[in-house]
């Protein structure tokens, strides 16, 4: 093959970043601001990275995890809920990004790895993307769709 993860990844610098204490509504705003193009078309990176107080990447949220928050907000229209579920729901009404984010320490490949390795990571983790690291530092993301261009060779 010879194509490395670094050759197809999208640089981490192209993704929006939010603090871990931001709220879900703000995360959705940031993603739409960053990824809806000038003509309101969706550019499609679909993730937002989360940094801590020391400006280190600690996690990321995806469109799916933000939509999941809606499901959590309404766990079944018209269904009976016990009082402790209702109380917990009210208490957690204001969800923060850190409640839903995935850690950057999981599901990653090295920048020098072959793209087949990246494809395998996406399949095994059942995600739409895999993180790319170089010397332990997060440098980019490979989406499943970026590998579509290589699928004829991989299959």
């Amino acid at each position: 093959m010879g194509t490395r993860a670094a050759d197809v990844m999208i640089s981490i610098d192209e993704y929006p970043v939010a603090g871990e204490d931001e709220y879900i509504g703000r995360a959705a705003e940031l993603m739409v601001e960053a990824f809806s193009g000038k003509n309101s078309h969706w550019k499609g990176y679909e993730s937002l990275f989360i940094s801590n107080g020391a400006n280190e990447y600690v996690g990321y949220v995806t469109m799916r995890s933000l939509l999941k928050a809606i499901g959590l907000g309404d766990p079944g229209r018209g269904r009976w809920k016990p009082w402790y579920v209702i109380r917990a729901g009210k208490k957690n009404n204001i969800l923060q990004i850190k409640d839903l984010m995935r850690p950057v320490s999981a599901n990653w490949v090295n920048a020098g790895d072959d793209i087949l390795h990246a494809a395998r990571a996406i399949i095994e983790n059942r995600n739409n993307s895999v993180l790319v690291k170089e010397r332990g530092r997060l440098v980019g993301v490979i989406r499943a769709i970026d590998l579509l261009w290589f699928m004829e060779e991989l299959l």
Partner: protein, 187 residues
């Protein structure tokens, strides 16, 4: 919630999706998916193909994830542990060696995961999360009428202000919240 709290308002009609026959090869499927992706501008096109049966009826979806599932099968084929312990390796090997893999073998059947057109946004959100899919067929009376796309749902739901209603306030609302709480305390 606004009127468009039902997913029907967010679905894209089936007729807008490119079509592929179920007996076409996976390679044809990959080629068509690539073309579909860039049809309306770079990365702006559709991310799935509608699979039709021999009578022209919609029968499944061919997504990027389906292509990855095919690759997963290929990687399994090369796994020595799988070859050694699993009799089904013989059949997979035969399938790859003697016949081409068709779209029908890797597509997601329309009935596998779907949602009714009058379901709520939150029901759709739960299905997207539970099944880890990016597209949901929308059905009306058991028949697929459209596709709910995760990205489009996210974008339109955000524009309608849905995230603020469903997941609580944002920091921008805090001054109002403080004001309201102050009013409540003074009564």
């Amino acid at each position: 919630m606004p009127k468009n709290s039902e997913i029907d308002a967010y679905a894209i009609p089936l007729s807008e999706y490119p079509v592929i026959g179920r007996d076409e090869s996976v390679y044809t499927g990959i080629k068509m998916l690539k073309e579909a992706l860039h049809k309306d501008g770079p990365w702006q096109g559709k991310r799935l193909l509608m699979v039709r049966d021999r009578n022209g009826e919609p029968t499944g979806l061919l997504t990027v994830k389906c292509i990855f599932n095919a690759l997963g099968l290929r990687l399994l084929d090369e796994d020595p542990a799988f070859k050694e312990e699993c009799f089904s390796w013989h059949y997979i090997h035969e399938m790859r060696g003697n016949a081409r893999v068709t779209v029908r073998e890797i597509m997601r059947p329309l009935g596998a995961v779907s949602i009714r057109r009058h379901s709520s946004i939150s029901a759709a959100a739960r299905l997207f999360a539970r099944h880890r899919v990016n597209h949901l067929p929308v059905t009306d009376g058991g028949k697929a009428t459209g596709i709910l796309d995760l990205g489009q749902l996210f974008y339109k739901y955000h524009l309608s202000g849905g995230f603020r209603q469903a997941t609580g306030t944002t920091p921008h609302d805090l001054p109002l919240l403080v004001k309201l709480l102050g009013k409540f305390a003074s009564t």
